[in-house]
Amino acid sequence: MSTLPVSTSNRSSFRWGVSDVLTIARRNLQVLFRIPVAIVFMIIQPIMFVILFRYVFGGVIAVPGFSYVNYLIPGILVQTVIFGSVGTAIGLAEDLQKGLIERFRALPMARLAVLAGRTISDFFRNILVVVIITGVGFLVGFRPGGTFVSYVQACILMLFFAYCLSWGFAFIGLAAPNSEAAQAMTFPLIFPLTFASAIFVPVLKMPSWLRGFATHQPVSQTADAVRGLMDGTPHGISTWMSLAWAAGAILVLAPLAVNQYRKVA
């Protein structure tokens, strides 16, 4: 047994930590691609939102300075990556429920690899969704005025924002009694953040009591920044605001999630 090619724990523990994160992330992505239905359902909801707002409500929504489809698609993309990061809560709650996290605890792996691996695999899943919804957007007439580079910048911004948020959802997933409850617990957070926002309509016509929140809340800032970058129009300090919100979120939420992981696992 002493002939096993096993590493000693003090040698390059950082390298093994990275290896553990990749092993977990790879496993999550394998599972994702093994259940194609899951991917279909992941993109079916944003597609329905695209159809609903592009063709049902779009005719009566007037946005100064934008064709509505050019206003809508960046918003839908932001909404979709945020919904995507909810998957972090569901995935961790499932692993916990099935006893997998407990099993991982008896292995000589880096403890935080479970959390880091999960958020990273959900980040990659969001990249896939962004690509697909971009394609859907172009099919329904989305023609952003910005450059390719600024489009990519916009995608990186919202993916980073969603990644930081997913640490909060990691906390919820670890605090919830099961995956169904985890999903339900995210709803009261997600709903006001995505609908009382600049995702679907400009905040200008909202009543004043709502407008203050809707203008400054992080999702609106991100939507404004993404839209401005994609369309090549001025968007004030919203990019910086979005980055600041994201950085602030991860600084607060990651320790919360880590602490909760220590508690439950």
Partner: protein
């Protein structure tokens, strides 16, 4: 090799802010290279003990040494020397059998070519070679347990914790797993086995500890445990429960341990089987009660357990079900 692979000293573990004592002053010495049985009904603290020894849970007080390392102070070194498998068969349902073993191998920081070769070999050894590339969702209960055990063995741990490895399995799968466990021990592995099946403990374990409500209530070899209470069980079968009830006081003074009435069957455990049987028959006949059947047998661990705890090993205890660290799972 050290004499003991696992040692636990005065382990106490409380849950629910001290209201529930899942383990109450448990001390164990598990000799290297044997199967050590931790026997007890649901809620007796077996799983809590395994979780503590496998570094998943920390003890409220007490100390445990596994493979020479302290489970609280040196958990990572402990994890390099243990494998854990059991009733929960925590394999990833959405991965294939091969991928499950590979994942555990990589998380044990073994190098990739070794893990791949070892995974193939384990699948072969455990009769899963043809199922290795199938998703675990399609596996039967017995296949999952074998895979769970295979994954626990990928790093060839010298110490293996098996938490109720055969609970809920059909007899054939149980026999298969017993065979695997016996071969592992022949190869030098130390196994700490928890079970509520006395037959399993009897067959596999050299040394036994019986837990009830978090306390050790008996320990020794299975024959020592049996010898504590008599050498023969006299089983008297009556035509009706009434007859059995009438016979019970007649034979009560023939034995030190209380007679066990189960329906119309009355059992007494004695040291001098034939003589006591003759005496019992005379008394029953004298009272005009007809016996419909009679058997003499060696006491099983079931009898030991009943005798020690007043309830059967597979019964749920009537109170204080074990509280797990989390509310999401009911564990035994």
């Amino acid at each position: 090799m050290p004499e003991y692979a696992v040692e636990a000293f005065n382990i106490v573990r409380t849950f629910a802010a001290g209201d529930v004592r899942a383990l109450d002053d448990v001390t164990l010495h598990v000799p290297t290279g044997q199967v050590f049985g931790l026997l007890g009904p649901n809620g007796s603290g077996k799983t809590t003990m395994v979780r503590i020894l496998s570094t998943i849970l920390s003890p409220t007080s007490g100390r445990a040494i596994v493979a020479g390392f302290d489970v609280v102070k040196q958990p990572n070194q402990v994890r390099h020397h243990i494998g854990l498998a059991g009733q929960n068969a925590t394999v990833d349902e959405n991965l294939t059998g091969f991928e499950n073993i590979r994942m555990v191998g990589l998380l044990n920081h073994l190098n990739k070519p070794y893990v791949v070769a070892k995974a193939r070999q384990l699948l072969e050894d455990f009769g899963l070679a043809n199922a290795g590339n199938r998703i675990v969702k399609t596996y039967s209960g017995g296949m999952r347990r074998r895979l769970d055990l295979a994954a626990a063995l990928v790093a060839a741990p010298p110490i293996l914790f098996l938490d109720e490895p055969t609970t809920g399995l059909d007899p054939q799968s149980r026999q298969d797993l017993w065979g695997i466990i016996e071969r592992l021990v022949e190869g030098g592995t130390t196994v700490l086995l928890t079970t509520q099946y006395l037959e399993e403990a009897d067959r596999l374990a050299k040394q036994l500890v019986v837990l009830d409500h978090g306390k050790i209530i008996a320990e020794g070899t299975s024959s020592e445990l049996k010898a504590q209470m008599g050498t023969t069980v006299v089983s008297l079968n009556f035509a009706s429960i009434d007859d059995a009830l009438r016979a019970q006081p007649l034979v009560a003074d023939l034995t030190n341990t209380p007679a066990n009435l189960d329906g119309s069957i009355l059992e007494i455990t004695v040291n001098n089987g034939p003589a006591v049987t003759a005496d019992a028959l005379r008394r029953i006949d004298g009272a005009g009660i007809t016996l419909s059947g009679l058997a003499l047998r060696e006491p099983s661990l079931d009898d030991v357990f009943l005798n020690l705890t007043g309830h059967k090993a597979e019964d749920d205890p009537t109170e204080t079900p074990e509280v797990s660290g989390r509310k999401r799972k009911a564990r035994a």
